[in-house]
């Protein structure tokens, strides 16, 4: 007999997510994914000024703020064949690096740590032993006895108040929560410190972006961050050095707290290296561009098929035909009119809600496909593609992290094991370490270029009569983001966004092949159907960022059990 579990809403993500799972013999046997919210931003964009598109699209998401802004300006520039000044590339790259640092830190600590860390167990921890554990992992100055005692007292005061607030009704004491109390207390302390360091990353973004969330310094043709070392209102030495200091502080947190925590938690939960692989086709795009033409990058992108690293094929420019010609979206199971599978330029967005149909349409999320295959996107995809293609910086951090996990776990952990629920967390931390280094590199590139007297930030766009088509991509914190535009007589005729969480959270396609969330849940253990913590672990490992929900259907003829909490 199969048992059905519904998690709705699936919390600690962006957007409204619903997960249903069919559990047989203590393991998930089947999974469906379905979005439940639609806002119609692609429809709203039609007929508007293409220069305004980035301001609209950035509002698709406030968690991955900046990413739709960047993809949008790149898209319009691609349609116009417009190159932007190198200073503008460096400024955009610093936004990319800093936003990634904020995002990966927040994802690990605020959004997913509570799947692995039992806050209530931390009340049993000995602060002295906690400090010993923490200092065996890193030299972080915050890992002292007094700090851990204060954090423990803070948790106790909260529990004693009778008002547990956001901690109420968590899966505390769950049998799958297996960290020792000291590891839990250390993680709670770092959870609180993470709030300070993600803020520093945002402060640095605000210095060049005007504010955060939702930066306001982009423009089709470059950036609006005026550079003048001899003016008090522009990007000058004081502003630049403030950024650098903040970036260095955040890098310190990544190196001394985030990476060691992921290594420790990953090693202590090493059984989760065997769950959650799901779709093992990977797609990433290159980013941190190094020239005005968009042909050289600090981070590689490409594809790997069927988990076979030898199949790696690179995507090499902003005009890459391998990428441009192979993306399609299927709406066979999504609430739009028709059952087509189309290239984004040819898509339309006509909603047609049918309610939940087991064998028909069940989601607002479209199902993107690359060369007609489902693909997993995100930090894991980028790290594996970098590793498989011999990218030096990726190899350095992957080898280091795998060696340290192997030491703590007491068993050899290879790169193939990254294809798992825990592996996605490790890959995200590795990517954060790379971007902390690259952010500072691009800061130096900008400062050096300014020193050569180049203050250019903007090439004004002009919109010719007739039709232009363009696409732009960005390797966002959650993976491959692409925007696609058709411009006619200077107005938007069609605009489509194919977002990372669409790649990962999409429903089945016409052939019935599940998307990555759906596939990754199959085989996961479920110890307590009343409290399906394991579902949260695997879905959170993708870092869902969707204004949507996920469903799973009960197969015909099987008994459906409604699971309710006691």
């Amino acid at each position: 007999m199969a048992q059905r579990i519904t998690v709705d809403p699936l919390t600690r993500i962006e957007g409204h997510l619903r997960i249903d799972a069919e559990v047989k013999d203590g393991k998930i046997s089947k999974a469906w994914s379905s979005g439940q919210m639609w806002r119609g931003i692609e429809v709203i964009l039609q007929g508007r000024d293409p220069r305004d598109a980035w301001l609209f699209t950035q509002r698709i998401c406030g968690v991955c703020t900046t990413v739709h802004a960047l993809a949008s300006v790149r898209t319009v520039e691609n349609a116009l064949g417009l190159e932007i000044p190198i200073n503008a590339q460096y400024i955009r790259n610093m936004v990319i690096a800093l936003h990634t640092l904020h995002d990966h830190i927040v994802h690990f600590y605020a959004l997913s740590a509570l799947d692995w860390v039992d806050v209530v167990s931390a009340l049993k921890a000995d602060p002295v032993k906690t400090a010993a554990l923490a200092s065996s992992l890193s030299n972080w100055p915050g890992n002292g006895v007094k700090r851990f005692a204060a954090v423990k007292a803070k948790i106790k005061a909260l529990v004693d108040s009778g008002q547990l607030g956001p901690l109420a009704n968590g899966y505390w004491g769950h049998p799958a929560m297996t960290l020792p109390p000291e590891a839990n207390l250390m993680a709670v302390s770092h959870y609180l410190e993470a709030l300070d360091y993600q803020r520093k990353a945002n402060q640095a973004i605000a210095i060049i972006g005007g504010k955060s969330p939702h930066i306001q310094n982009m423009s089709v043709g470059g950036v609006t961050t005026a550079i003048n070392l001899n003016n008090e209102t522009t990007l000058n030495m004081e502003r630049l050095y403030w950024m650098k200091q903040l970036m260095e502080e955040v890098r310190g947190f990544i190196q001394q707290v985030y990476l060691p925590d992921v290594i420790a938690i990953g090693a202590l939960y090493k059984n989760w290296l065997a769950y959650g692989a799901g779709v093992t086709n990977y797609l990433a795009v290159p980013d941190m561009v190094l020239n005005t033409a968009g042909t050289e990058f600090d981070l590689p992108g490409g594809t790997i098929m069927n988990g076979d690293f030898s199949t790696v094929k690179l995507i090499t420019s902003f005009h890459d035909k391998y990428f441009r010609d192979n993306v399609k979206e299927s709406i066979a199971h999504a609430w739009y009119d028709g059952d087509w599978s189309r290239h984004p330029y040819e898509e339309d967005t006509v909603p047609r809600y049918t309610d939940f149909q087991d064998d028909g349409k069940y989601s607002w999320v479209k199902a993107p496909r690359f060369q007609n295959q489902p693909m997993q996107v995100g930090p894991l995809a980028q790290v594996l593609i970098g590793y498989a293609s011999g990218h030096e910086l990726t190899k350095k951090y992957v080898d280091d992290v795998l060696a340290r996990i192997s030491t703590v776990a007491g068993t050899e952990v290879g790169a193939a094991a990254l294809q798992s629920t825990i592996g996605r967390h490790a890959a995200r931390a590795i990517r954060a370490a790379m971007l902390a280094d690259l952010g500072l590199k691009h800061w130096q590139l900008l400062v050096d270029n300014i020193g050569r007297g180049d203050l250019e930030i903007f090439n004004p766009p002009t919109f010719p009569k007739g039709e232009q088509r363009g696409f732009g991509f960005h390797e966002a914190p959650r993976g491959v983001l692409s925007h696609w535009i058709v411009i006619n007589d200077g107005r938007i005729k069609n605009y489509q966004c194919v977002v990372p969480s669409t790649w990962n959270a999409g429903p089945r396609d016409k052939q019935g092949r599940p998307g990555p969330y759906e596939a990754s849940l199959v085989g996961n253990p479920v110890a307590d159907a009343q409290r399906p913590l394991e579902i949260l672990r695997t879905v959170h490992s993708f870092d869902p960022c969707i204004a949507c929900a996920v469903h799973m259907l009960d197969p015909e003829g099987r008994e459906m059990i409604k699971v309710k909490a006691v």
Binding site: D8, P9, S161, G173, D196, V563
Partner: protein
């Protein structure tokens, strides 16, 4: 239907409540001795319970609180309020999360603050946003009437926001269009400066009432004056010194951004004064015009964002201290009238002028 999610809001009896506390305490692995304390907290909570509802939104407003420093997020949710329901931050999920929602509505009927982030789609029965099988409309209707007050955070919850932009495919509206007879505070902005939300909450925590509001239910301390009237670049406007295009020499001198689309003259907000992220930054400060994000319908009335606002009186006498800019100022004086005509022709400028008049203050 896979699962019922009805909000049975009948008040719990005391016995039921103690039973609920016992269950929670057991689930948490806590001592029974805490149960009386949990019951006491429910009767007279030290920290006001807050239910935070997310509808058609991007979570940018919640994200803005991650950037706040005084108070910071940890202090806010652990020391000042009790954030009982918040999809992005709460530990609980699924049934346990929905139980938290219903428990708080029941236990603190008439006492909790309801914060709404995001617009509410009303077209086609509200099917464009569903959580736990209920539409956003249903959830708002089951929650907000039980609150002591409702705070709409962001332009979406205040006025409908981006999804309400023409042609508003989902019939999105703000809370004010659906909720009547309840104290409602609007904190618009895309997202709003967290200072504006936090200042309002701190005022309430301190004085048990909300600060003075304008006609759009926005706190006066945040939305009492136009950006234009507080802008550090205002002297350049007054003297007729304008940026002609991004990256030009005037841009590098920090001149007024009116000609490259700044909507500060029609936008009420404290951005130039409080700034963002504690680094003295704000959009105009980094060389980009204001887009008017605190105003109703700004996605339609303030766009195209890179075209100048029509109907703005330029006081510049052309007597600016910078020679190059003097002529720029004279040019703008001459073309303003023509610009109004262009905007009226596309139908956007017209609406803006109308909207601007409606929002005129009495002060």
């Amino acid at each position: 239907m896979p699962r019922q999610c009805s909000a049975d809001l009948a008040p719990l009896s005391r016995r039921d409540f103690i039973k609920a506390c016992t269950t929670v305490a057991a689930a948490l692995g806590l001592s029974d001795s805490l149960i009386p304390r949990m019951a006491a907290a429910a009767a007279a909570p030290d920290r006001p319970p807050v239910i935070w509802l997310h509808f058609q939104e991007c979570t940018g407003c919640t994200e803005s609180l991650l950037r706040a420093s005084h108070p910071d997020l940890a202090r806010l949710i652990l020391d000042l309020i009790s954030l009982d329901y918040h999809e992005t931050l709460m530990a609980a999920a699924g049934q346990q999360a929905e139980d938290n929602l219903i428990n708080t509505i029941t236990k603190y009927d008439g006492k909790f603050i309801c914060v709404v982030e995001g617009a509410i789609p009303t077209k086609d029965g509200g099917i464009y946003c569903k959580i736990g099988d209920r539409t956003a409309m249903d959830i708002l209707a089951a929650t907000a009437p039980h609150a002591a007050a409702v705070i709409a955070i962001g332009t979406c919850a205040s006025f409908g926001g981006i999804q309400a932009a023409d042609p508003n495919p989902t019939g999105a509206v703000g809370v004010r269009d659906l909720l009547k007879g309840k104290t409602l505070i609007n904190i618009p902005g895309c997202p709003p400066n967290p200072i504006n939300f936090l200042g309002t909450v701190l005022h309430y925590l301190t004085y048990k009432k909300f600060p003075a509001l304008d006609k759009l239910n926005r706190p006066m301390f945040s939305y009492g004056r136009k950006i234009h009237d507080q802008c550090e670049r205002r002297p350049h406007f007054d003297e007729g010194r304008f940026v002609e295009t991004f990256g030009d020499s005037y841009h590098r001198k920090g001149y007024c951004l009116y000609k490259v689309g700044c909507k500060g003259p029609e936008s009420f907000s404290n951005c130039p004064v409080v700034r963002f992220c504690d680094v003295g930054a704000w959009p105009v400060g980094t060389g980009h015009g204001c887009i008017g994000c605190t105003e109703p319908k700004f996605w339609d009335t303030m766009s195209p964002f890179y075209e100048r606002l029509p109907g703005i009186h330029i006081p510049g006498s052309g007597q600016g201290i910078v020679v190059g800019a003097e002529s720029a100022g004279k040019k703008i004086l001459a073309v303003t009238g023509a610009a109004i005509g262009i905007h009226a022709a596309v139908g956007l400028g017209k609406r803006l002028v109308k909207g601007g008049k409606k929002e005129k203050r009495e002060d």
